[in-house]
């Protein structure tokens, strides 16, 4: 049923194209000089139909579901939805929908069956309405486009105008995405802050995101202080950087200055493989190999290591970040002007001394920018920590212990939960907001450092 409007649209586009092209050709064959080529006349009609009708169909399909749901729920007899929370209302809706598909479990109440019938009828009506509307609009636009075909109609300008508009629309999608992120995070965060005061969230040292199942339940009061979660994120990030920065930096130094060309052409792509491995694979690697190895190593020297120690998650994250840091450092070292190298060598420095005393300090701002971008990566990295780090927030900086991170909490709070009206799920959005803000600030700062430094040498 949903394919029919699309087929209709394709048909209308083709017919419109052919109609206009043939009309333009007839005028040309009649001895008149056309302003635009015949294919532009055809394209004008096709685009004039395609753009508005496609927009219409997509909007219809997106809005149809919620609107019909609302109409069905609004048409229910009075009183059946009283004293149901939003989860209960959703359950009723789901039951009506499953009844409408013919999956009847037990004996639903009569009003539910009636609602299911109404649901089916409304859907059928919506489908037919859509088809009728698509046909009508297409014919209207086709007629309009056809009426414009004259010898001096500037069809090419018309087409180029539409294409230009489409391209501008494409470019604004990035803006809309950013707006969507900010608006949705802000909206849900404000709903969260209605339940939990801002000061509790920002300065609280307990993170126990649970909510009472019953009103009178004892000792189920949740605590939503993000500091322990944030501290855990920092611990894992520091571990990752301790692994990634020296390895990445020294490989970049070697590759940039000392490696033979052949070795460089092999090593660089292999290091890039490390960056291309999906993070879920690293997560599995951490729990399969790294965490047991660290644990048994710790036990052999008499240390008590938690099974999901921050060292495992952080260390594996560090491996992931090696190519990131090494390629940034390599770029920064390569951007140092040749004159500085020549000057240092000409004064008698060895190549090692040139690297440590001239190139490295000169490239330092760029390297710091790269490391900062790696920090933002590490903070936002999700799958490795979801699989290998802990779930319980502890206020500790001991990397042998198990800690949790912002991203772990976001994922665990939202997995399998559908309703958006309790602080537990809304807390995930508040954490997401903090994550977005922190990484955004680091990114802007890092990009500014990198750019400023590049300009200095250009």
């Amino acid at each position: 049923m949903t394919t029919l409007p699309f087929l209709l649209l394709i048909l209308a586009v083709i017919v419109g194209y052919v109609l206009n092209r043939v009309a333009a050709k007839t005028i040309r064959d009649g001895g008149n000089r056309l302003h635009s080529m015949t294919s532009y006349h055809g394209m004008f009609s096709a685009l004039l139909i395609l753009v508005p009708v496609l927009t219409f169909i997509l909007l219809w399909l997106v809005l149809r579901g919620p609107v019909i749901d609302g109409m069905v729920m609004g048409g229910l007899p009075d009183g059946v939805l009283v004293d149901l929370d939003s989860g209960g209302v959703q359950l009723v809706l789901a039951e009506i929908k499953s009844v409408s598909r013919g999956q009847v479990f037990g004996t639903p109440e009569d009003w539910k069956i009636a609602a299911a019938d109404r649901f089916v009828i409304l859907h059928q009506r919506a489908d037919w309405l859509l088809i009728a509307a698509v046909a009508a609009i297409s014919l209207l636009l086709m007629g309009f486009a056809r009426s414009r075909v004259t010898a001096d109609f500037r069809a090419r300008q018309g087409v180029e105008g539409i294409v230009s508009g489409l391209m501008i629309f494409c470019s604004t999608v990035a803006i809309f995405t950013t707006i969507g992120i900010i608006v949705s995070l802000t909206y849900e965060t404000f709903r969260f802050l209605e339940a939990v005061p801002l000061t509790d969230f920002l300065f609280g040292v307990n993170w126990e995101p649970q909510i009472p199942l019953r009103e009178d339940q004892i000792a189920a009061e949740g605590a939503f202080g993000w500091l322990p979660v944030f501290l855990g994120t920092i611990v894992i990030t520091v571990v990752a950087l301790v692994v990634a920065v020296p390895i990445g930096l020294f490989s970049a130094i070697y590759l940039n200055e000392f490696a033979p060309r052949k070795l460089r052409s092999v090593v660089k792509p292999v290091l890039e493989i490390l960056a291309g491995v999906p993070t879920v694979v690293y997560g599995f690697f951490a729990i399969l190999v790294v965490a047991p190895a660290i644990r048994s190593l710790g036990q052999s020297i008499g240390l008590d290591v938690a099974p999901n120690t921050a060292l495992a998650a952080g260390g594996v994250m560090g491996i992931m970040l090696i190519p990131f840091i090494s390629s940034f450092a390599d770029d920064a070292l390569s951007a140092v002007p040749q004159t500085l190298r020549d000057g240092a060598l000409g004064l008698g420095a060895t190549r090692g001394e040139m690297m440590t005393t001239v190139l490295f300090p000169a490239a330092l701002p760029g390297i710091v920018g790269g490391v900062l971008l790696a920090v933002s990566r590490a903070i936002g990295e999700t799958m490795i920590v979801v699989m290998a780090a802990g779930l319980i927030a502890k206020l500790t900086i001991n990397p042998l212990d198990s800690v949790t991170t912002v991203t772990v909490q976001i994922v665990t709070l939202l997995i399998g939960d559908t309703s958006f009206d309790n602080p537990k799920t809304l807390a995930a959005f508040a954490l997401g907001m903090m994550l977005f803000l922190v990484t955004l600030m680091i990114n802007i700062f890092a990009l500014r450092i990198v750019r400023k430094y590049r300009e200095a040498y250009d």
Partner: protein, 433 residues
């Protein structure tokens, strides 16, 4: 003059050449130390990559085979009457034939019978049922069929359960090992390629769990992602590179695109959850929503790659076309874009490869559900390859460890293929001007 400023500990009559020569050895040593540290760092990175890949292969290769047992099943008309199909005692038929092959068991004892039956995979009776339903003439005949064994026996056959471990710590007991060895002695046990891994969707039982659902889900999600991100990305890149006036708005768009490329993936998941599912009411767990989310994440990659490819086309092409009277759009769409296409496609494939491995946003929109059939449209519930890996990695059954590795190898295989296509396109079609 320099002679007077030399350090106190140095004899006055040495020349600076001698000074340098004396220190040169130490300085060279310092340099070679730096080189060795660099080489060491690279070796550590390589070692890590090697351990990663080899650990995945060493645990994963076992999952590409599955232990089967060949049975002579008598389809008893008493147990499986024609008129009751598709119901019937299929499990009893299988158990009876297995009982004949295992020596020294009393199949009338319920407990023993159940223990013997558990050698077979839980799905065996359903494949027998499907065979009989498809061809009811089989009732009354004895058929030879190959059925998978359950996970513990599969592990035993692959040597993953050590026979030396004390019995109480072992999942397969001594008498059960004896049964299995008897089956091996009769030549009934075989270990063919594990077709179920690609033909089945997810299952609670490792020996029946497969990747079909995940592969189909990933396919729909990537298709949606491509259909949305490719046109939007190219349109946006062409506008910004070729047409946009240098003003505040285009600067703002550019800053936005660069920032989107660095936003953590889990934030895109939150966006999808709040906007696509919460506000628009799109279904949870649907590959369509996953593709939509991935499209937003892939778009910056495609835009950046397309702009680079457009930039690489020399201005002389544009000027020649303009000089011959083409409009600016004709120049771009008929000359510049076709020349830039290899670069655009390379960037797109690399972007899609990233999207294929992306997990976190899919978890948030519920594509980690337990779904035992493959999706038939992008709006059905489904898992994707990376989320299936996550689900299996979380499963307690031993058999899922090697299946997780196998799934990862499949995922990595797809990524290698996609990247290889991208590299091939680049080398084959990219023109140096």
């Amino acid at each position: 003059m320099t002679d007077f400023t030399t350090g106190a500990g140095v004899p006055r009559n040495t020349t600076s050449t001698e000074l340098v020569a004396a220190s040169l050895k130490r300085r060279r040593r310092k340099q070679s130390r730096l080189q060795w540290i660099g080489l060491g760092a690279i070796s550590v990175a390589f070692l890590m990559l090697f351990i990663l890949v080899s650990s995945l292969i060493s645990t994963g290769w076992q999952a590409f085979t599955q232990t089967h047992v060949t049975l002579e099943v008598y389809v008893d008309p008493e147990e499986i009457p024609v008129d009751r199909l598709p119901r019937g005692g299929f499990d009893d038929a299988l158990a009876a034939s297995l009982g004949k092959m295992v020596p020294g068991v009393d199949m009338s004892d319920r407990k023993t019978a159940r223990a013997v039956e558990s050698i077979l995979s839980n799905g065996a009776q359903f494949s027998l049922r499907d065979m009989v339903v498809a061809d009811p003439d089989l009732i009354g005949q004895t058929i030879t069929m190959k059925v998978p064994v359950s996970d513990p026996y599969d592990q035993l056959n692959k040597g993953l359960i050590e026979r030396e471990t004390p019995e109480e710590n072992r999942r397969v007991k001594n008498n059960e090992i004896a049964w299995f060895d008897a089956l091996v002695a009769q030549g009934a046990i075989s270990k063919p390629f594990n077709l179920a891994l690609f033909k089945n969707a997810d299952s609670r039982f490792p020996e029946q769990a497969g990747l079909k659902g995940a592969l189909v889900g990933s396919f729909w999600a990537l298709l949606t992602c491509f259909l949305i991100a490719f046109p939007l990305g190219i349109g946006s890149a062409i506008y910004l590179e070729e047409f946009a006036p240098k003003n505040k708005l285009s600067d703002f768009i550019e800053v936005n695109i660069n920032n989107l490329a660095a936003v953590p993936s889990v934030v895109f998941g939150l966006l999808a959850l709040a906007v696509f599912i919460g506000w628009f009411g799109l279904p949870r767990s649907a590959p369509f929503v996953g593709g939509l989310t991935l499209a937003l994440m892939t778009m910056p990659t495609i835009i950046i790659a397309t702009r680079a490819a457009l930039k690489a086309v020399p201005p002389s092409i544009r000027e020649a076309a303009l000089g011959l009277g083409a409009s600016r759009q004709q120049v771009v769409f008929q000359h510049v874009l076709p020349l830039a296409m290899p670069g655009v496609l390379t960037g797109t494939i690399i972007g899609l490869a990233q999207a294929l491995g992306e997990t976190a946003p899919l978890l948030l929109i519920g594509m980690n559900a337990f779904i035992t059939s493959a999706a038939s449209s992008p709006f059905d519930s489904a898992t994707a390859l990376p989320t299936q890996i996550f689900i299996w990695a979380d499963s307690p059954e031993r058999g899922f460890v090697s299946r997780t590795s196998a799934a990862i190898l499949v995922l990595l295989g797809f990524l290698v293929i996609m990247n290889a296509i991208a590299i091939y396109l680049r080398q084959k079609f990219e023109r140096k001007w």
